[in-house]
């Protein structure tokens, strides 16, 4: 597997590694319990005890940003996982067999992919109801087409290569060829898509939770916190700022990584 080792990749790797480290540490330890409230320590400015201050319930903002970044990351990961697995199956089968089913599925895919994902997500949320798991389901479903498209194109290309013909001669079954022989070969092509997927998933989760249809209080998530922080822009601008910067770092890290791997940043 070849990766262009360039500035983008390095910067992306550093930022992502930093965020992942913070998130991983946050899963085991945070300075304070992110949900613990304190009537005496409401709306504190940044200080030694609370480097990012406290919110309107006296909760430590730093702990919540870490916890929120973790929640956002996990949702993004789950979303990408759903999109990727279903995309692999759909894209793999349609790319390998082709035919009218391929036509129909891809037409449908194109139609969905052309539609703004936020809007579709809202429609799906109206159907499923809001909440963490419904957000994962809704966004996961929406990510299937883009993965399916990439997988399909690559499978269709690989299908005609010599090694597939070779495997066929050896008597390997279709499923065996598809998942054991072709699949490992499309991983390099898939990686940038996965990074872009992460990127879009983080943005989508943040938007949905900002609109109060994603993660439910009192759980932290970056979008959810940005929604709360907006009410305290004048008295506590660092609340909105630190949350926003966390989103930007997550998105930027994955964006640069995908670009370093040769993907097209910004195009889903």
């Amino acid at each position: 597997m070849k990766i262009k080792h360039n500035k983008n990749f390095t910067a992306g790797a550093v930022i992502t590694a930093f965020m992942l480290t913070v998130i991983l540490i946050g899963m085991v330890w945070t300075p304070y319990d992110p949900n613990a409230m304190s009537g005496k320590e409401k709306m504190l400015s940044p200080c030694l005890a609370h480097p990012l201050g406290t919110d309107n319930f006296g909760r430590d903002i730093l702990s919540r940003v870490v916890e929120g970044a973790g929640a956002t990351f996990i949702i993004a990961a789950a979303t990408v996982a759903i999109g990727l697995v279903a995309g692999l199956v759909i894209g793999g089968l349609t790319g390998y067999y082709g035919g009218w089913l391929d036509e129909v599925v891809m037409r449908f895919n194109d139609a969905i992919a052309a539609f703004p994902s936020i809007l579709l997500a809202l429609v799906l949320i109206a159907l499923f109801g809001s909440g963490k798991y419904n957000i994962i389901l809704a966004l996961g479903l929406l990510f299937i087409p883009s993965f399916a498209r990439v997988v399909r194109a690559e499978v269709a290309r690989q299908k005609s290569l010599d090694y597939v013909a070779g495997a066929k001669l050896m008597g390997a079954g279709d499923m065996r060829i598809l998942f054991l022989h072709i699949l490992p070969n499309i991983v390099p092509v898939l990686l940038p898509s996965v990074a872009i997927g992460f990127n879009n998933a983080v943005l989508a989760e943040a938007s949905m939770s900002y609109l109060s249809v994603g993660v439910q209080p009192p759980d932290a998530s970056l979008g959810r916190m940005l929604n709360e922080a907006q009410g305290y822009l004048l008295t506590a601008p660092w609340y909105a700022l630190s949350t926003g910067v966390a989103i930007i770092l997550l998105v930027l890290g994955f964006g640069l990584l995908s670009e370093g791997m040769g993907g097209k940043y910004g195009a889903a």
Partner: protein
Amino acid sequence: MTKRILTLALAVVMTAALFIGGGQSALAAGTGSTGDAAGGAITVGIASDLDSSLDPHVSSSLAGTREVLFNIYEGLTKPDTQGNLVPAVAESYAVNDTADEYTFTLREGVRFHNGQEVTVGDIVYSLTRAAGLETGEPLVATLAGVASVEAVDDRTVVVTLSAPDAEFIAYTTVAIIPEGSDPADGIVGTGPFKFVSRSPQGNIVMERFDEYWGEPAKCAKVTFEVIEDGQTMVMSLRSGAIDLAAHLEASQVAELKAAADLNVLEGNMNLVQALYLNNARPPFDDARVRQALCYAVDKQTVIDLAGDGHGTPLGSSMYPAFGKYFDDSLTNRYESDLDKARDLLAEAGYGPDDPLRFTIAVVSAYTPHVNTAQVIVELLRQVGVEAEIRQMENAAWYSDVYQGRDFDATITGMDASTLTASALLARFVSDNPKNFIGFDSADYDAAYAAAVGTTDDAEQTAKFKECEAILAEDAANVYIQDLADFVVTQADIEGYQFYPLYVMDLSTVYRAG
């Protein structure tokens, strides 16, 4: 070639503009129709859009709609700031000894917004329509007891009830509309303001009615701007985009206090905020579990954390503005006691290995309730209860929770639509259609029936208090507080008055100087 692209881009822009903007030349109406006459024009921010219909006999269910319509429609009587009923369209009224016949005398010179003088025909029409005497389906539930409405002469109307009801007079605040009219075709009332226009999710505009029978409104024009987002409301106040907003919560006020050019008034919302529990199904069909929650949730902590210490703790379905019906001693029926809570939970079969888990439904637009929910989840965590918040839209809450009764617990505020104790207590009678928590107590039903059945005031008060005590004793709900109601206005806005009901009277508000 560059030119060609430009032309194309322009063509695209214009086509799109034509398409999207097509047929929308007539934009939001009601701007600039009057100048700033005496008292000026005032812009009020409201947190939710009004009901679909502004029919006063239909839309009485949404508190947010009622408080706006209060300025436009009037009944035979209307409440004043002290919680008394004062005659409005009626000049006076009389009750017979058995409290089943009410006689109203029409005030002279009361005019509708369309200029017509109010006649007894209008009153008979309005009450007949609201009580559903012709359709058999009362539009206003409190008028279900009306048997007949008759005009005796051209200034007197007699209302006969099917059963005695000493509280009936409080229900006569129902709006009077012109005979034969349908509010769907035009909004015509007798109040100090007349309706001008409405834009969904936008605004509602009303103007002073110059031929009003009583004290005329002090400002010439009021625009209600729908601002559903609490943060935006705060920003609009700061920036001066709106002049007045009511029902703000403490944290919003804290954000606004930094601005010196704003007035902050504090009153009460006049509602019963509680963690309403579904008594009809597990886990809350077990009184021990309900009581455990009452011991675990310290009202004052909730008020301190979610309301910055503002709010009046409550112990039953009654708030202090009701004066004689309010029983202060119930407030501290359950002193915070975590051990007792754990014991009761253990008795009911819940423990560290099998913790009590349930979901709290809350309407996402109501920040105070969402904040209260967050604190309660945290408090319950301390006794090992795992509560989860489920934010819902208003419509979903109505259909799933309120009407469908498919919920474990919900945080909301129950307000009184009329100045009667039964407005708050009727819903807990076992067969009442509004009994969404499925409370079922024979003692309660008996006490309530005794209360409404008597014409003796002292006995009635005692029976209503008995009802309240039963609710507290059975831990029907985890009662929290009557929320603090903050009204914030620009520095030059004066005259705002609080009512013991959930209304917003703008006729006394004006711009000074």
